[in-house]
Amino acid sequence: MQAFQFDPPRLPPDAVAARRRVRAFLEAEREAGHYAPHRCSWSTFDAQFTRRVGAAGLIGVTWPKEYGGQELSSLARYVITQEMLAAGAPCFAHWIADRQSGPQILRHGSEAAKRMILPRICRGECFFGIGMSEPDSGSDLAAVRTRAVRLDGKWIINGSKIWTSNAHHVHYLIALVRTGDAGEDRHQGLTQFIIDMSQPGVTVRPIHNLAGEHEFNEVFFKDYVVTDDMMVGAQGQGWEMVTGELAFERSGPDRYLSDYRLLVELVDRVGTQPSDRQAAEIGRLVSHLASLQRMSASIAGLLDQGKSPNTEAALVKDVGTSFERELPEIARRLVPIQSSLEDPGDSFSETLAYVTLHAPAYTLRGGTREILRGIIARGLGLR
């Protein structure tokens, strides 16, 4: 087995400066009463907040200046996302574009797409969704059936996507569609396209989640027309694109800090004189969090050096999302209340309610726990 080693990340000066900048921004946001940390997370959509984040220069910071970026290190971006999560900021409007869609377009998109889209993402004016899952293709991503056919120099797309977060808000999706035969390994013939949600041929149907919120959707394509310059990567390269994209996002701090605010609320609710049991349980949670923090930051350092520690990244997501799932289960036993989404004046109760209702998604989104364990097992040499 490979001996896992998580070397200390060395934060470059631009990351240290970014931390100061984002903290000042978030403090001003809280003081202005722009958001309530105990009632949101990175999966809270707030277009106004994202516009202010863009104006503060905190989106797309690693991208070239000619596309609106600042050419900062990936560790500077890492620090910004970390601080946003720790502050409970409502980041969903720019999260997907900043984390994966923008970087994909930058690396594999056409010049026209880069010029049209990236500067708007940086300004906090352009939002993205992910078009991977389909009704019959969830964890088995290679089974996608949405098809693009060539006609008169353009592509005509028919089919549907599902579980598309914010499809009713976003300007674009990046959709994985079939453009050719699957081949023996089932990974051939897939291509990614940027879908402009304002064009004809695409409709959105809401799906309400168990918390009663409208966050994800079903998206239907009926003779949707797309041109070559909206293709991401080469024709038939879709599988390599999405697996690369997933590996890159797995070790991020959004895989262990989704319900960080609940830990903050728990500590404050328990108070400065915890019982032995409360102290031990909180201490245990903090020991898990500090370890995850180190693993994730260390991997961010490796990614920054151009390495691809895929097994370690899958480990962070598996261990990190398990931690996220465990947190509300422990919190509710340490402070025995009956939590509610509307409990005026009791921010612990409201946070616990919010997290309890959203926790099932933590170990599903971005690759289920079971898929991750398969990837880890392959990394261990078992398959």
Binding site: M1, R284, R373, L382
Partner: protein, 366 residues
Amino acid sequence: MSTETLTREQTEAAALSAMVVEQADRLFRGEVTKERMAVADRGEWPSAIWDAVDHAGLTSALVPEAQGGSGLPAADALRLVRRAGYHTLPVPFGETMIVAGLWAEAAGATLGGPSSLAPAGTTDRIGIERRGDNYALHGQAHRVPWGAHVDQILVHAHDANGSALLALVPHAIVRTERRRNLANEPRDTLLLEGVSVPAQQVRPAPASCAEGFLPAGSLLRSLQMVGAMERCLDYTIQYAMERQQFGRPIAKFQAIQHMLAEAAGHYAAAAAASELAAESFGRIDFAFAVAIAKSRVGEAAGKVAEVCHQVHGAMGFTQEHPLHFATRRLWSWRDEFGNESYWQERIGRIVCSAGGELLWERLVGS
């Protein structure tokens, strides 16, 4: 290139450290044979192993070069302890390394021979008082690693004013009762009542161990456990690939794959926590970092041992299979120098007394 560029000296130092660790690993692998493990398991001092380790100068890794040590950076020196854990080295290697480093710091003197430290538990407290040219000790220290086998024991004691002193006590003048842990490693009782030590063998405790040996001891056990977990997983992955049932290696079953993936996650988190603590050794944030490490590593140790035994089936439950040399140590080491509950409570009290909003800075810095 956005990460800070390492200086040439740093690069050379890193290469040297890597070489030392690699050489130590090879030495441990060669010296720790199954026959010698069986001897140590009977409670006999494995002198051949000790002599080889001592001869290689590895126990002086924390002693500055000017005082005759190898002067490795602490984090690198401590990697040797992780490798010792991997090979279940049945001698007080880490203990001797820590004692040599502390005594060099406190007294400016070098030590030879195997050493240990006391107290090693959360409840023992040793008293000390001046009597003419000597100091007299009071109390008992329990579960002292190799307490009846080492040449000297560094004792952390408090005088009537509550000041912390270190007394270097030769083994020959202490009465001991032999005890052992689950891995049959000696964990002896020292009867220190009335033991008299010359004043030059007593020094004020340096800041790094002002509160006793629990943090340093926990760091050792954390690193050893990470090494031992790695060994368990190596055995287990190999076994799962070889063992055939229902016409195929059991590694091909998803149930086995997922168990091992989960165990690997615990191991990885434990490795990260122990590295964090090793790097902060000697720094102001060491106490918190080592509390994190012992909590997280101790929890992982139980999970990894359980999964590895489950995958090995009855074969791993035998004396014949070497898995138990690692797992019995995991079960012992997680309890030594304070178990998970002890350290978790300490973390919890520190975090709660500061309040929720200050936790983040503690995790990532200001």
